[in-house]
Subunit: 231 residues, 2 copies
DNA sequence: GTCTATAACACGATAGAC
DNA sequence: GTCTATCGTGTTATAGAC
């Protein structure tokens, strides 16, 4: 995805990213040009493009780094409470806190998300490691929590919740209320709803619902990573 | 949104759109340039831009016209069956048949969808008429059908199903299986799931779930149309 | 007022020399 | 790994023809 990792290259890459993030924050993503970024780094335009093939790749790199940060924060979350809703809310809120200064960038990433063949999409084969890590974080939060869910659903729960997370992020990106207070309301409501629904999944007459749900997740999952024939 | 409607203008507009659609089909959206479109129409580049402010607006216009077509097909659907699942499946499948030759264009539209302030987004204030029409079509399909759902949910059901529709379309866009057979599987599974869940919503102990669901739809709805203060 | 043409701009991206 | 030079494209400015 990126050139081989040498000391020099890595330092330059980091420098470009930091500079770009600053400029994005100041002028916004669209109005910040690659020429501005290169100039601010005392580099030529071509050099900047050597390190990042596209402007959007800068955003993906930023997102990848927030992932690492989130990993180290996950322990704090699991230590603080065993409650499913509390934990998941904390996980999502941490993501929001991280990305808050760069809310617009989330939108840039979401734009790529719709085409799953786009290497920069969160659903693409190329971003699979990042996706798996994010799902792993959710799984960690589930393990040892008080979540109640039917047996057949349990192995797919983290993947389901990752999709749920995507939806909440989409809402958050577009939430114009001060400090995104509506997102918090959405979070509380949807987590309560989810909790009840998962509880209900253990009921005997929900067997059919469970089977359908599992198969749906598998279908969505099957679309994402493997490149198949087209029509 | 567009210049005043005179005979001449409307004819040219239609001609540009038709030509563009042909070129999109032949070369794809990205590789088709505005210059190509203008040339194929025996128009100057400036003239083309007089009629369509952006390249993406061509796609929106196409989408708007499929909406009108779908309206006239809705009667056939409601006449054919009273079954909720059958009707909704027919509605969605008709949309897919319409858009099948231009599947890539759906993706172009989806790209705009993520930023709800973008006038071309299906969630924007500007596209509200189109959105309302689409929801109206779903409401028509619900009325007189055998759908079973709790009373508090019923007034919001069409809006909920419109969101569901958006999800299915996203899947369809990215479905690489021949003739998008997986989308049909998804359709059957998700409709069955939906049906059961709506049935379950009438159960007494689902009161809380109903309330949460209604409020969530209202939150999403409230984000879309009204331009509010930013942060 | 409605429509069209010409010219130019800005920016993302690339080619090829060093 | 960095440079300079250049391209292609979406979009805009502007002037004027019907």
């Amino acid at each position: 995805m990126t050139p081989k990792v040498t000391k020099k290259s890595e330092a330059t890459r980091a420098h470009i990213l930091q500079t770009a993030l600053g400029l994005f924050q100041e002028h916004g993503f669209e109005k910040t040009t690659m020429r501005m970024i290169a100039l601010a780094c005392d580099l030529s335009l071509g050099a900047a493009y050597y390190h990042f093939k596209t402007k959007e790749e800068l955003v993906l790199q930023f997102y990848a780094e927030t992932g690492a940060e989130a990993r180290s924060h996950n322990g704090t979350i699991t230590a603080a409470s065993r409650d499913f809703k509390t934990r998941l809310k904390a996980l999502l809120q941490f993501k929001f806190t991280q990305m808050a200064p760069f809310r617009e960038l989330a939108s840039v990433l979401a734009r790529q998300a719709t085409d799953w063949r786009n290497p920069l999409s969160p659903f693409s084969a190329e971003t699979r490691p990042m996706r798996d890590e994010a799902i792993g974080l959710i799984e960690e939060v589930l393990e040892g929590s008080n979540v109640k869910v039917s047996a057949p659903l349990r192995p797919h729960l983290a993947k389901m919740l990752w999709l749920y997370q995507m939806g909440v992020i989409l809402f958050w990106m577009n939430d114009p209320s001060p400090e995104q207070r509506r997102t918090e309301e959405l979070l509380d409501l949807s987590l309560a709803l989810l909790h009840r629904l998962l509880q209900a999944s253990t009921l005997p007459f929900m067997r059919g619902v469970n089977q359908s749900a599992v198969r749906i997740v598998e279908l969505v999952e099957g679309l994402a990573p493997t490149g198949e024939e087209e029509t």
